[in-house]
Symmetry: C2
Subunit: 583 residues, 2 copies
């Protein structure tokens, strides 16, 4: 029991010098990668840069205690930062103390919700975020995030958390470009792109080992930060109108729980829930992908508890909502992280950086951070999903398209809710108009298939219908129309066999429809039979009036049903005998 | 085309003297029944009594033109009256002109929505109101309606559209009972109950024919109205504090469309939608039940148009939302109504009654109308549904129970939305954790069933799993865990056959899960086969990477899959050969 809540008790016991070595190497590399990302994502969330660093300390320790993934690297991520900005941007102005404390409350709320969902084992809720929806959402978020940084790269003001406002504010201010800012922005973009695409080959051509080259590439963004800080000081860019990060409080965060009002909690509850679910889905899918590569398993409900603890820790430690990041976790995995302890070592690294870096951050141009964000989110954009969904099914395409359009035009929260709503509605709509087939026997077998797709044998006077859906309230009336229509247009029919192999449940509404079908058929002198009724469905039907009054029989298999119906037609067997023989 | 929008063009052509006779008899009986009900339901809706009469004139004519049911009697009904009171009670005070015009706007809005739903053939939306939900809703509404009339029977004030407020206001005013009102109320209740339960036997014992006795019983409530009016005048009950109907404008309604604000439309849009759907479901189920008895068919989408036209007519003619009433339609049917023209004749009857009655209504005690309402709604209450649902399935029971509790405690709109929401959530939850079975062969057949329920034969090394649900986003991850778990606990397994007879669809999320299952199994040296994949599902799968990379085969039947897997195990057939033979 204790061990399932504290996985650290299991892996901690096996911890040895070799694991420590692997974890330390991974921690160093992730720390180097995380420093510029923490600063940049805090900026994206509209928060002071140190908040990003704070969000990369305690949450990592909390995840190390509760988490089940050895590779997951927790911290600020792009999508959740955008969602944070959208949620708290409505309640307070950026740069105010209220804004920062709203972010902290959001982290606490989201942490509390995640932990409760984990304790009550509600992880399945996340399954309702379908893959097309989450993929469309991340693509749209990536576009919004990249667009939101255009202002920072041009040195103009831009506002908004959805495309229409963002584009409007960019165009409104397009005349006020600061060319020094633009220069720093383009330089940063170019360097970061070159580092990502080309530096490694270049280093290897110069004879560096693969491992060393990899580490240098990953510390590239930190060098860009140092370079632009140096340029900023040398050319007094601040004096030339380039936006700099400005003074940042020194030292580590003071642990505290902000005092907050019920109004604030109410206003943030829904955004916190959406952030929790989106963050969980992103995190758990990275964790699962990486775990599968090592034949490990992660425990989704425990992951909820771990992410909950991480977010509560983020709130207490002055940070904002965090989750497992994709790129960062892959790096952590590649670098050899063997246990969640790697995350705790990363936290120590970030704490050290916070102490060392904060005095110098004042001169860092914000445009460098904007460039870091743009390069990081470009990998999120995947329009291929639209094409794959279109070619696979129009309903999946509808869900992706609605999610992307909704997120771009109306913002992250509305977008994801529309996407989930669409995918559920499409599922319900489809199941309310089920596919059905008249079936016949595949010659030489006991197998029965759709007469329209296979060359099958049917028996005149016996109509076999296979309905391809569970029978429930939404399709109950449809079923009545279907069977009534088929029988009315085939006057020679004396027996209807409803093949139930694809009927996984029958609810009360459908049971009433079946009874009314039985009555209608009975009035027309037609007997209704069932075949291949599944165990769980049969358990329900036993003892119902419908079954007691059924003139026909319930047959184990469709083949048996057809044999019996044929025999009974030949013998002109009265319904009473059939009733007596019923199951 | 024209004929499908105007069914009157079809039945009007066949209209003859005999049909006219039947329709006229039915119209007289329904008119007599409708007069007290119109007055009473208007009171229930918080409207002046003449509004009830107005709602029983033009809407009936409109339905006669557009309707497809020969027996449906349209007009004010109890549940919709309660819903009207709840919707407009928030916006205006009873007795004001604003209140009445809000009711008219509600009728127009609801009429417009119904007509649009009919034109766009959206009748299937009503299928999402499951039978347990609508039944629970009507039971709870009946209880609320009966309780809301206690104040009228005691002569005290009572307010509210849900039980807590209603009971609170009754207890707050319980000391102010007017005993004259109570006397009239109890007398009316006793007479109405006696008329309903006993009068017919009594008349027949006195030698009256069955037909005459029936007509007298049905006009009973009108006699009670005349009797209490006479008592009211004789004993000057108005002067003794008994609430009377009071002055009513004479004559027929003036046709008009009220001028209304956008705010009003916005506030009434959601209630109008709920009233439309509930009214439609009630109406169409009565119409279908009665149509089936005469081997007729009604056209649900045309019914939407007809009810839409009826409600627009109600709005223009000074009425409030109407729909087809259950008891009234049964009476219409019994009395021999042969075409929708019977409704038009009823409208003439009510118009005549409006001209004749209005001068006398001033002296009618409201307690008589309260008694009429109580007697009428007692038949709506059906707690048996709770018991039937409990014994059939816990999920259906949950839907009924939530609907009843929600409606009683939180009101009609919240109640029905909670009920529909619960039934949909329960359906989604169930399909997110599908039933699955390991299957084996029923000896001597080609039929495969659950090893836990049947004595079946299995083949060592071959695991056949039947998943009883369409594979979609909500259960995709569950499927992965299921198959991975089964294979991991059976190390001797070399082949997994996924029997797809109950899989009616595979969406993109599930396809990705199948691919990841295939990969996992492949890593473990296990081949994945599919069997009994339905045509529509196979159409999707063809051309996907999953199918192209599948090591196993797709077999027409489970039996064939087992034969092939056995043969291939014996031959030690390499996966490449299986790939070549696929499909």
């Amino acid at each position: 029991m204790l061990k399932s809540f504290f996985p650290i008790l299991t892996w901690g016991r096996r911890y040895d010098r070799q694991t420590l070595g692997s974890d330390l190497v991974a921690a160093v590399i992730v720390t180097i990668m995380l420093i510029p990302q923490s600063l940049a994502y805090a900026l994206l969330a509209g928060l002071p840069p140190e908040v990003g660093l704070y969000a990369s300390i305690l949450p990592l320790v909390a995840y190390a205690i509760f988490g089940t993934s050895s590779a997951l690297a927790v911290g600020p991520v792009a999508v959740v930062s955008l969602m944070t900005a959208a949620a708290i941007g409505r309640l307070a102005a950026q740069g105010t103390a209220d804004y920062t404390s709203a972010a902290i409350v959001l982290a606490l709320l989201s942490g509390g919700m995640l932990a409760l969902m984990g304790l009550f084992r509600l992880g399945f809720i996340a399954n309702f975020l379908s893959h097309p929806v989450i993929s469309g959402f991340i693509t749209a978020s990536g576009i919004i995030i990249a667009t939101s940084q255009i202002g920072g790269l041009l040195g103009i003001k831009s506002d908004g958390h959805a495309m229409p406002e963002l584009l409007a504010s960019i165009f409104a201010n397009i005349g006020r470009i600061n060319y020094y800012t633009l220069g720093i922005g383009l330089l940063s973009l170019a360097l970061l792109l070159w580092i990502r695409l080309d530096l490694r080959n270049w280093l290897e051509r110069f004879g560096l080992g693969k491992g060393v080259a990899k580490v240098i590439v990953r510390s590239g963004p930190v060098f860009v930060i140092f370079l632009t800080m140096a340029l900023s000081v040398t050319f007094d860019l601040g004096g030339k109108g380039v936006a700099l990060v400005g003074d940042v409080p020194q030292g580590l965060p003071v642990l505290a729980v902000p005092h907050f009002s019920l109004d604030l909690v109410e206003a943030l509850a829904l955004p916190a829930l959406i952030i929790s679910i989106v963050g969980f889905v992103e995190s758990v899918s990275v964790a699962q992908t990486l775990a599968a590569k090592r034949r490990e398993r992660i425990e989704p409900n425990q992951e909820l508890i771990a992410l909950g603890a991480a977010n509560i820790a983020a709130g207490i430690g002055g940070g904002y909502p965090v989750t497992g990041g994709f790129a960062r976790s892959v790096v952590n995995f590649d670098a050899g992280a063997a246990t969640p302890a790697a995350g705790a070592f990363t936290a120590i690294g970030i704490a050290g950086a916070t102490l060392l870096l904060t005095p110098f951050l004042a001169v860092l141009p914000k445009a460098t951070l904007s460039a870091t964000i743009v390069i990081a989110v470009l990998t999120l954009v995947d329009f291929g999903m639209l094409k794959r969904a279109w070619s696979y099914s129009r309903t999946d395409f509808a869900a992706v398209a609605v999610t992307i359009a909704g997120t771009l035009l109306l913002g992250v929260e509305v977008g994801i809710v529309l996407g989930v709503g669409t995918s559920i509605l499409v599922f319900l709509y489809r199941s309310s108009k089920p596919h059905a087939a008249i079936v016949g026997r595949v010659p030489g077998t006991e197998h029965y298939r759709n007469v329209k797709r296979h060359a099958v044998e049917t028996i005149p006077g016996i109509l076999s219908i296979r309905v391809d859906e569970s029978l429930y309230f939404a399709n109950a009336r449809y079923l009545e129309d279907l069977i009534y229509g088929q029988v009315a247009s085939n006057p020679e029919v004396t027996d209807v066999v409803l093949m139930c192999s694809a009927i996984n449940a029958i609810d009360m509404s459908a049971l009433e429809s079946l009874e009314s079908i039985r009555l209608q058929l009975s009035d027309m002198g037609v007997r209704l039979h069932l075949s291949e009724v599944k165990g769980p469905v049969m358990d329900r039907l036993i003892g119902t009036e419908f079954l007691d009054r059924l003139e026909g029989r319930v047959h184990l298999s469709q083949h048996h049903a057809m044999q019996a119906a044929t025999a009974s037609r030949q013998d002109n067997e009265p319904p009473e005998a059939a009733l007596a023989a019923k199951l």
